[in-house]
């Protein structure tokens, strides 16, 4: 999977370079952004509590089905222009979320219920963004992006820190206004990202890669 992540990033880089056109209006060397990010739920599947029966069979005491809940948090990022139409970006996203587990089918008749634990999640990401000038229509400027990340999750009491890996790909749209004043500011506006996040590790996960959608809305300024 890591290989796949790298392949996506490299593809984006090559593609972005090939598409590079004249400098996008409002382009600046440095971009700062800050906004809110929604991350969709991540399902971890079902685990059964079982005991051994005569002959080696299994008897299920109850089943559990877990997910990392959808979350809304903050995100800040920095982008640096590499070439015309290609930008390197790093960002950190923070979100308070929760691990939820549905316990069902208890053999002793315990009513089905959902139990939870709060989790704080940090996602450090780095990647590339391609934004060919010819895609720009007025103040709207689409882009595609891909990259990799480092996941850090803490439980509520901060007694357990689990780490993991991430990769992402997606696209988005800038709505930007060319700035004329002050001189060092080249553009401001808003930016929307839609990403497919693929995560591995963390508080609840095993070593399986699991996906979740992520939507970020932010304001930005280019210098």
């Amino acid at each position: 999977m890591r290989g796949r992540c790298i392949a996506i990033v490299v593809a984006a880089l090559v593609w972005g370079a090939g598409q590079a056109q004249a400098q996008t209006p409002g382009a600046g060397r440095l971009e700062l952004s800050a906004g809110a990010r929604w991350v969709g739920p991540i399902a971890f599947g079902t685990t059964a509590a079982t005991e051994t029966t005569f002959g080696g069979g299994k008897r299920t005491l109850f089943e559990s089905s877990s997910q990392l809940d959808a979350s809304i948090g903050g995100s800040v990022g920095v982008g640096v222009q590499l070439t015309r139409g290609l930008r390197a970006e790093v960002s950190v996203a923070f979100s308070p979320t929760g691990l939820s587990t549905r316990i069902s089918g208890d053999v002793e008749g315990v009513a089905d219920l959902t139990v939870q634990a709060p989790v704080t999640q940090f996602l450090f990401e780095g990647g590339l963004q391609a934004r060919p000038a010819r895609w720009t229509r007025g103040r709207l400027s689409p882009f595609v992006t891909a990259g990799m990340g480092y996941l850090r999750q803490l439980n509520d009491g901060r007694t357990l820190v689990e780490t993991g890996r991430a990769c992402y790909f997606g696209g988005g749209l800038y709505y930007e206004r060319v700035a004329t004043h002050p001189r060092w500011l080249t553009a401001t506006g808003v930016r929307a990202d839609i990403r497919a996040l693929v995560l591995r590790g963390g508080v609840a996960a095993d070593d399986t890669w699991r996906g979740a959608p992520a939507i970020t809305a932010s304001v930005f300024a280019r210098f």
Binding site: E51, A117, G157
Partner: protein
């Protein structure tokens, strides 16, 4: 609790005994470390030296030669010894004419005929130094009043030596019974085992069954907690807390920690009247806690008559997931249960 301090006292030694009981009755304990008191001092029953040398009585029984018996118990010893997170080791010292229960300083396993113990397949006894609390000897007797087998695939109508030995060697090593298992009442009285979640469950699944040859997570947590390999305590964690009913502590509640990642079950009891409990040797990560009363028909098998456990509450799943930290404790978890 099935641990019974014996009236026997020989010099400065003290004999303790445990028993694995057949399909009726059901003493149970989570993977407890046995503790005992001598002259007001608390001791944990464990070997201070390793490897533990054991001997095998030179006694055949129908269907099992002494060499077959020795081979089967050697495999069982190896199973415990192979737990990577535990440091205990055992070594075979040879055959002996001595019998289990003879306080000769030799840890001895072997057959003895005890037809009067019609519910006891095997039993483990201990000889402890009365001054230091050091475990000097632990013997296991297998009741030859029952039919036994060492057949690789088990043998219908015969009890599997390796499975029963695995349970008893857990006792020999200092582990108590586990309550992770389910029984059902029989119409004619007594109980039948439906399933087990620990080799240390006190009732065997049945004659001919060999599924008790493999250790389960509860057993592994127990032996590792008792004889931790270097780093074990740093890489695992514990859950502790208090079980209450109507604001008061619950004594004898059975708490099982369920690991969401792998489905492992590890249990223990609230052992004080304040309802305090602790479960150690858990893999770090999220766990669900399930609290249940022990089978009310068997409470006197677990606890002294003078201190009956509280069984008048509903099986409960704690409303929060508990995150077990690496190398630490979850912090005090307060769990309220409701009366039946």
């Amino acid at each position: 609790m099935t641990r019974r301090p014996s009236a026997t006292r020989r010099g400065w030694s003290v004999l303790l005994s445990l028993a694995l009981v057949m399909t009726v009755s059901s003493p149970a304990f989570a993977y407890l470390k046995f503790g005992f008191q001598l002259d007001g001092k608390e001791f944990t029953l464990r070997w201070s030296r390793s490897p533990v040398m054991y001997f095998v009585s030179d006694v055949d029984v129908p269907g099992v030669s002494v060499s077959q018996f020795q081979g089967a118990v050697a495999v069982a010893f190896t199973t415990w010894e192979s737990v990577p997170s535990a440091s205990i080791a055992y070594t075979f010292g040879g055959f002996t004419r001595g019998l289990p229960g003879e306080n000769d300083g030799r840890t001895t396993l072997g057959f003895m005929n005890a037809p009067e113990l019609d519910r006891v397949l095997a039993s483990t006894s201990y000889l402890v130094d009365g001054d230091t609390g050091e475990l000097l000897e632990s013997d296991i007797f297998f009741n030859s009043a029952f039919a036994w087998s060492t057949a690789q695939a088990g043998e219908r109508g015969r009890w599997d030596v390796e499975s029963i030995a695995l349970h008893e060697i857990g006792h020999l090593s200092g582990l108590g019974h586990s309550a992770i298992g389910e029984t059902e009442l029989l119409s004619g009285g007594g109980r039948r085992v439906q399933s087990i979640g620990s080799v240390m469950f006190p009732i065997a699944l049945g004659s001919g069954d060999i599924s008790g040859r493999r250790l389960m997570p509860d057993d592994i947590a127990g032996i590792s907690d008792l004889y931790p390999e270097a780093g074990f305590n740093d890489t695992t964690g514990s859950v502790s807390g208090r079980i209450t009913k109507n604001g008061a502590g619950v004594f004898g509640a059975h708490i099982v920690a369920f690991d969401l990642r792998g489905g492992e079950l590890v249990g223990n009891f609230s052992l004080g009247h304040d309802g305090q409990f602790s479960i150690a040797g858990l893999r770090p990560g999220p766990h669900a806690l399930r609290i249940e009363p022990i089978d009310d028909a068997d409470t006197d098998s677990f606890f002294d008559d003078t201190e009956p456990p509280d069984v008048n509450f509903r099986t409960t799943v704690f409303e929060r997931l508990v995150i077990v930290p690496r190398g630490g404790d979850s912090g005090a978890v307060q769990i309220a249960v409701q009366p039946k």
